[in-house]
Amino acid sequence: MPGVAFVAHCLLNQNSKTSGGARCPGVYSPLVATLRERGWRIQQMPCPELAFTGLNRFWAVREQLDTAAYRRHCRRLAKGVAGAIEVHVRAGDDVILVGLEGSPSMGVHVTSSDPERGGRPEWPEGTDELSPGSGIFIEELAAELAERGVPMPRATGITHQLPDHDEAREQAGIVSLTGA
């Protein structure tokens, strides 16, 4: 039965992306279309990086953002999101989460990592910083939900910023997540 999909902020608002990262003017239509066709309600999560490092932020990897202060910021956001997820879970709604693969904050299965990255923001083109794992916000959300005794929703991530992005595979992942 369709339920509630908690989606990464940028998937409804590409204006929140770091410079060069906006793939469309505002709403990432393929996700919205798929969720709506299948009867899922949409709830948007906040963008962890937007309020912390701002609209003029550089692209960053996990190691650059993984500070105690950023963790506290993400936990504050996660408390808000977890409260909303908890409302739906307690009401018996099916809840899923759609993050953004490759993101240092919102990656679900793929984040970005490079321990050497830092200082002056120049690095060789083609450097591959993608690595398995979750982003910092996703980790903090899982921890917050665990503390509340609320299960982590089934989750996937949109892949449109990965070099091997395949829209059909992305859609199949969403369809699989939505359970029919």
Partner: protein
């Protein structure tokens, strides 16, 4: 801004029931998607105050960043507590509409001007 960046510089704070109209009323999300606006979804009116208040604060915090950078920001629909949350972050006087029709919403969106009108 990077030449390949497709952002619209337009962001709407929109009531939850206009994002999830469930086949009733105005589909605000579709209107914003069609007009190329980004969305900041307001917390559901069904959430208890203790759940909604922190979410409204996060909305206000993010809105402040967009207004600081000259993005066009508007409010679509109504959410109790939003004005107070925005005021706490120094944001007030945003253009707003409680749309009575999809056409009225489309006209409102088209009438908003700002940074998104400038060549990038």
């Amino acid at each position: 801004m990077d030449a390949g960046d497709e952002r619209s510089y337009r962001v709407a704070l929109i009531a939850e029931e206009l994002v999830n109209p469930d086949g009733r009323g105005i589909d605000g999300l579709a209107a914003l998607e069609s007009a190329g606006w980004g969305v900041i979804q307001l917390p559901s009116r069904d959430y208890p105050d203790g759940v909604a208040a922190p979410l409204l604060e996060l909305v206000a915090e993010q809105t402040e960043e967009f207004t600081r950078h000259g993005y066009t920001v508007a409010v679509i629909g109504r959410r109790a507590g939003l004005d107070e949350a925005l005021a706490a972050y120094g944001v007030s006087g945003l253009p707003s509409i409680e749309p009575r029709s999809t056409a009225a919403l489309a006209r409102f969106l088209a009438a908003q001007s700002g940074r998104g009108d400038c060549p990038r």
